[in-house]
Symmetry: C2
Amino acid sequence: MAPRKAPDAGRRSDRSRRAIYDAALALVGENGYRRTTIEGIAARAGVGKQTIYRWWPSKAAVLMEAFLDMAARAAGQTAPEGDEDADSRNGGEYGIPDTGDLAADLKLVLRATVDELNDPLMEAPTRALTAEGIVDAALGAEFVEKLLDPQLALYVTRLRAAQEAGHLRADADPRTALELLIAPLTHRWLLRTLPLTHAYADTIVDYALGGLAPRP
Amino acid sequence: MAPRKAPDAGRRSDRSRRAIYDAALALVGENGYRRTTIEGIAARAGVGKQTIYRWWPSKAAVLMEAFLDMAARAAGQTAPEGDEDADSRNGGEYGIPDTGDLAADLKLVLRATVDELNDPLMEAPTRALTAEGIVDAALGAEFVEKLLDPQLALYVTRLRAAQEAGHLRADADPRTALELLIAPLTHRWLLRTLPLTHAYADTIVDYALGGLAPRP
């Protein structure tokens, strides 16, 4: 749920904003990124297209915020009630827990990622946006910078803490190491090679931490 | 180079076949999968569209063979001269070398994968096809089955041999283990997060085999 704000003539109304996000995500999921238009989003949301143009400079900007909001709602299901700090709703700001057990913490967050990727609400729009970013380098770069990199930064933080605690190889680069954890999930999901399950997430963590070579 | 075949009225001419593949790959790279048509391929290749319809049942079938041929040409650069067995040109039939040094063999093949992914000839059509498979489940499944799975099977074979030689953890599942090796490369390439280099391929192999946790 979006936090309630005091009425403010200069602020987007929460109801219109939510309707616009929902319409944008639905249309991009149904028709793809290119065939989604500001006019179409406005019509589906029941607002005038000038309302959208007043608040966002482009279709990409609407969708970016719709995705940030969707990620925040997914993350916010475990967030404190009544949190009114918009930054803290930015999907990744809650961070990866640090219980001192790196494997357990990574399994928790990768299982949650599995659930998000398998969520029918997110499936179609996320696929449409990812597919467009793969062929449109400028759009892809924007989404990596604004949506993906902030999530990856959380892994860097957690892996650095693990390194300081002696739970990650001292010579491992956390930014590279995280790719062994998240890329397999993305690969399975995008290419639909095999089922994406909690058990798979657990196995990836075990293999990545323990290594595929036999331990002496 | 395609192997030379004896003239045969029932066989596609090599020259037309190559022209059709080249046209199909160029058009899908320039315009995307959906806007590529049999008519467009025929016009660009300088053949009648009935020529294409006679040899392939669908646009997807033309592209599938064009990709198989492109992969075979990439793999065939190191293949024996004069090989006339069409099956052996199928991109993956040469297998992953087994010198007894698992890390070295994996680095060799992953470096070659980096080169293929960074090849400008393959870049646009491979991105277009991958993007379409991400949003079109039926097309995606067909390409996974016919293009990706045969390549993954080569990793399974090599990892099983390593397991028998005591170079891979006895309890590791080779089909899952290979995803730690190939998914990070795919992730970087598809999402363009960071440069995809030989050094990166080497690091992924070292991290995956050695594990991210400190060794006792």
